[in-house]
Symmetry: C2
DNA sequence: CCATCAATTTGAACGATGTTCACATTAACA
DNA sequence: TGTTAATGTGAACATCGTTCAAATTGATGG
């Protein structure tokens, strides 16, 4: 059950052990099932130990969130590029929503402003970098230069593009598909059948021009 | 401080008093600042009293959520209709996001599936009815018949339209505008200047047809 | 008018949580 | 090898949601 067994008094690398244990707990039981004491016990350590490595529960969860943003960014980066802007943007959005659907607890964590410290510099950078690929795909679709996407005026089309994926992701983890569909397997069929058609309706392929 | 003073042993209408007190607490301190004991104290009652009227904290918060959905629905219903589908849809979306921006705690509540009972029949109906006007506006924009919007296949365009507003609302209460803009008053300027242009870019007016 | 019953409310429990702190242990280093 | 700073312990503490026997009162029927 515990992440790391221990024979000596000191742990060795309790900091990362706590982060790993916390991610596992949130994966299994959701953010609402996470407690600092569970994480400590899972790392084989007393309840007071984490205080020496993190600034309270918020500090630990912030470190976990950084880890999750990097995972999300890696998944989006790994998605194939077809060279066709519309399809690439749809692929990015599909990846974003799929990540949320497959990791609802972790996605909820990175949206819980009350649980993590969004003023943390590392977290801000990780959250920006996670969306770099998505933002570039959106910029390509709308014919914008992809430079200076962050800390600048948020272009209307790109804000709209970000909102679509973010909104769909929240709708999925809030169970809205189950309310709007009559399927026995709401999330699965939503991701595989409904979502692609939604994305196609949102960002259709450019119509060919007759000569 | 307490919502209702009391001279007799029994309260009279503790059930609604608890709902009103809870809404006030969430307005002032957010969902994360809400505790059942605070609500009981605000209603001038002992910590164990709410159990006789609600099925635990989740039951009380579900009742509050129903109240909030009705407020949201009333605000969307009160928005003017211009007869121009594009503008009406933008107006509805602006109203939706504005409600979230002005009532972040309450909007967070109605999205917290872990805190409220989304299988509750009254809550489901309230959540549906709150979005009726928005759904009709989206249906008009996309040329759909507005019948049977609920419990049926969610049309791709309408799902997209719902996702945009929902995603923008979440982005606002998650503080994303503050990360993406350099304004001292992130939410205010976002709602008043950036958001309209985002919505216009999402659902532009139909282009006039030359004769 | 009164007695009985059911509905409410109390207040003290209980277990669990995050955090703190004096103390124990040990790794790192002079 | 001895000293120091880092790391972990375990017992506190306040607060939380929940439960339950006892207390109080409104309502009902004689």
């Amino acid at each position: 059950m515990s992440v790391t067994a221990r024979e000596s008094y000191h742990h060795g690398d309790l900091k990362t052990a706590l982060i790993v244990a916390s991610e596992a707990i949130i994966r299994a039981e959701g953010v609402e099932g996470f407690t600092l004491r569970k994480a400590a016990k899972s790392a084989g350590v007393s309840p007071g130990a984490p205080s020496h490595h993190f600034n309270g529960t918020k500090g630990l969860l912030t470190a976990v969130a950084i880890r999750i943003f990097k995972q999300l960014g890696a998944e989006l980066d790994a998605l194939p590029s077809s060279g066709m802007p519309a399809q690439d943007l749809r692929t990015q959005a599909l990846g974003y929503v799929t990540f949320a659907a497959r990791n609802p607890g972790l996605f909820r964590l990175i949206c819980r402003v009350d649980l993590i410290d969004f003023k943390d510099a590392d977290l801000m950078q990780a959250s920006f970098e996670a969306l770099t690929h998505y933002a570039h795909a959106a910029a390509a679709y709308f014919g914008h230069e992809p430079t200076n996407l962050h800390h600048r005026v948020f272009r209307p089309h790109m804000a709209s593009a970000m909102a679509t994926a973010h909104g769909l992701a929240h709708m999925v983890i809030e169970g809205r598909p189950a309310l709007l569909f009559d399927t026995p397997d709401p999330i699965g069929t939503f991701i595989e059948t409904a979502l692609p058609s939604i994305l196609l309706a949102t960002w259709p392929d450019p119509t060919s021009i007759d000569p």
